[in-house]
Amino acid sequence: MDFPMLSLLILVPVIAAAAVMLLPKERTELHLPVALVLSLLPVGLGGVLFARFESVVGFQFVEQAPLIERWGISWHVGIDGVALPLILLTTILIPISIAASTSIAKNAQLFLAMVLMLEAGLIGVFSALDLIVFFVFFEAILIPMYFIIGIWGSENRIYAAIKFFLYTAFGSALMLVGIIALSVMQQNKTGVSSFDYTVLLGLEISPAAQAWLFAVFGIAFAIKVPMFPFHTWLPDAHVQAPTAGSVLLAGVMLKLGTYGFLRFNLPLFPDAAVRFAPVVATLAVIGIVYGAAVAIVQTDLKKLVAYSSVSHLGFIMLGIVAFTQNGLDGGVIQMVNHGLTTGALFLLVGMLYERRHTKLIADFGGLQKAMPIFAGVFLFSTFASIGLPGLNGFVGEFLVLIGSYATLPGFAIVATAGVVLAAVYLLWAYERVFTGVADKPENQDVPDLNLRETLIFVPIIALILLLGLYPKVLLNRIEPSTAGIIDRIEATTDYVEPTFVIGEPSE
Amino acid sequence: MAGPTPYMALAFILFVIGATGLLTRRNALIMFMSVELMLNAVNLTFVAAGRAIGNFTGQISVFFVLVVAAAEVVVGLAIIVAVFQKRNSASVDELSEMKG
């Protein structure tokens, strides 16, 4: 590529962050608008990326520059159909979360810089094709998020921030072991150690080694997803994080885990992936049902949405380990959908918190009377999150469910129960918060959404409808890459993707 | 008297005495002297070993050990005096604020 698109896309937010920091400290009214405008630049770049992205297998916009030759570490960035949607999601969510954090009073300048740095880290991690660069960005994004939660969070934010940081850092430490092991294997085989993803793809690893490497990478990503046993940091982190923090954490950072599985675990260790698929599927399905069930009884609205994320990401993981074309496509597009719907829900809960300074469902009741537009948007996001057909949640879930039936029939059927539970917990929450008579006086005259807040939701609602009704716009770009991953698995293991010829019984 | 063994044995004994002194006595000065004693024992081994291998390295090492010991004494005693000024006792066990 003649024009270093991706490096620019990573650099722009960094420059923006620096620019925001350089603004005069006392001119607080300047900080947010400047940050917002600057954060629109990556959106433009993302648009160009999207336009010039051809739906073909393999990486595009690839750039390579040597960093440390001796160990084979190079600044190697490039994206394919799996990474593109996530980068676009990041570029879109950042301006939205900046626009939504007007209530950050304490030291907003630093906050905005942190958010922009987070954006740079996220884009970096999704486009990194060198394992060390990936690892550096994987760690780098922890720091801004740690500060966002730690400084601007609510009550016991320190506990949540530390727990979040240590939990993920523990995971990434494991991953580092795996990365180094890979480069050592590469050295033993070819005499030259290399961390380059495309080079390591060529390295054939013994099934035993694949097993523990899969486990090491898998645990690191499972913590990030979060999958069932490793999910307890998520509710704490979300409850304490400020609105922007939650939106970005749920919107994009959770996808790192699933992206990691798709980018590293499946292609690099196909044999182990096939062997461990039932285990991962079990955890995913437990996550779906367990997350939904626990969400039902939550008293804190934000925690409820957090547990719903655990459930939704269970779907994505099920889609990934189904190894079918539809399963993977559904998983990838559900990452974007979940980012939008849960992002919207967190924005709404945040705005509710700004108005009523409480997140407990019991404190609300009959809000629909005072804030009809807010209730309307909340209901819209709820139904998108439940997976109402015609909205984006459904597309992802439907693809995953139908796609995963072919290879994981039992799991798919149990996962479908998640669809019912989703309706239960979200609608019950909606009922307790919005319907009924506003008995508590403070619920009677809560101000409705102002123009700024409504404008924030316009792009999200538009995207939810677009992806809900015409997902082909993204699916076309995702499909070749996921097909590539499946072909690679089929090539290196004896797994064959079940296909059907219409009219010929497959049983 | 062929071989350095007797001298090594003597040095060993002196060293052990120094070590026990260091560990059992509570008075800073006595401990300090025990350290000096141990250093001297080491010097003896150096000289004997030098003679055994037949070159001057042994003696030169003694020279350096000696200088270091001297520097150590200077600073050590200054500390002991300073501590004494403050605590009015030279007992080492007084100074246990740095407890874990």
């Binding site: - | 008297m1 062929a2 350095p4 063994t5 007797p6 003597l10 060993f12 002196l14 052990v16 005495i17 120094g18 070590a19 026990t20 560990l23 059992t24 006595r25 509570r26 008075n27 000065l29 300090f32 002297m33 025990s34 000096e36 004693l37 001297n40 010097n43 000289v47 070993a49 030098g50 003679r51 055994a52 291998i53 037949g54 070159n55 001057f56 042994g58 003696q59 030169i60 003694v62 020279f63 350096f64 000696l66 270091v68 001297a70 520097a71 004494v73 200077v74 600073v75 005693l77 200054a78 500390i79 002991i80 005096v81 300073a82 004494f84 605590r87 009015n88 030279a90 007992s91 066990d93």
Partner: protein, 196 residues
């Protein structure tokens, strides 16, 4: 023959001095004991023809260092007798335990095996006496070796460590002065002794 006698005499003197160092009630006696040990060591050095080292031992060690010790003892108060009660719980037991281990291991390792002092490859049995003149430690000899006068490529021999050590001495001196001089400024809370 003379050597054996000298060794016996001064060996006992050295050990006796060492014992007084650690057992004496009064610090003065331990200081004197230490002097005795140092003196007997210098005799041994002379027996090994290490004249320069013996001279330094006497001048620097016994002379300067011990006088400094005596001076400090005087400063701290000579008549202070220590109660030998041991505060630390099982300190004694640890020391005895360590003593035993080192004694047993040395005995086990040395007795019976043909314990060779010089294990460098190709070195034959120690020709103790023949080495005498080789290590005749006169000042000239030690000086030449110290500064690498007769080494083939005329490298500086031990010059570098020599300079490093001199630096160390300066630092020690400055340190001592600083400790003594600046002490009143660093007032850390009320201390009984502070008079000025």
């Amino acid at each position: 023959m003379v050597e054996v006698i000298l060794f016996a005499v001064f060996g006992t003197v050295a050990i006796a001095g060492a014992l007084t160092v650690i057992l004496a009630r009064n610090p003065i006696y331990s200081a004197l004991g230490l002097m005795a040990t140092m003196f007997s060591l210098s005799v041994f050095y002379i027996m090994h023809l290490a004249h320069f080292v013996a001279a330094i031992q006497i001048i620097v060690y016994t002379g300067a260092v011990m006088t400094l010790f005596l001076f400090v003892i005087m400063l701290i108060g000579v008549d202070r007798t220590e109660d030998t009660a041991e505060q630390l719980p099982n300190q004694r037991r640890i020391v005895i335990g360590l003593g035993l281990t080192i004694a047993i291991t040395t005995v086990v390792l040395t007795v019976g095996q043909n314990f060779k002092w010089v294990t460098a490859p190709g070195s034959g049995p120690v020709n103790w006496d023949a080495n005498a003149d080789a290590t005749n430690g006169t000042i000239q000899a030690v000086g030449r070796v110290l500064f690498g006068a007769d080494t083939a490529e005329r490298t500086a021999g031990w010059a570098l460590p020599f300079e490093a050590v001199s630096l160390l001495l300066i630092v020690a001196a400055v340190g001592a002065i600083a400790l003594a001089f600046f002490r009143p400024l660093r007032k850390v809370g009320p201390s009984p002794v502070e008079d000025e």
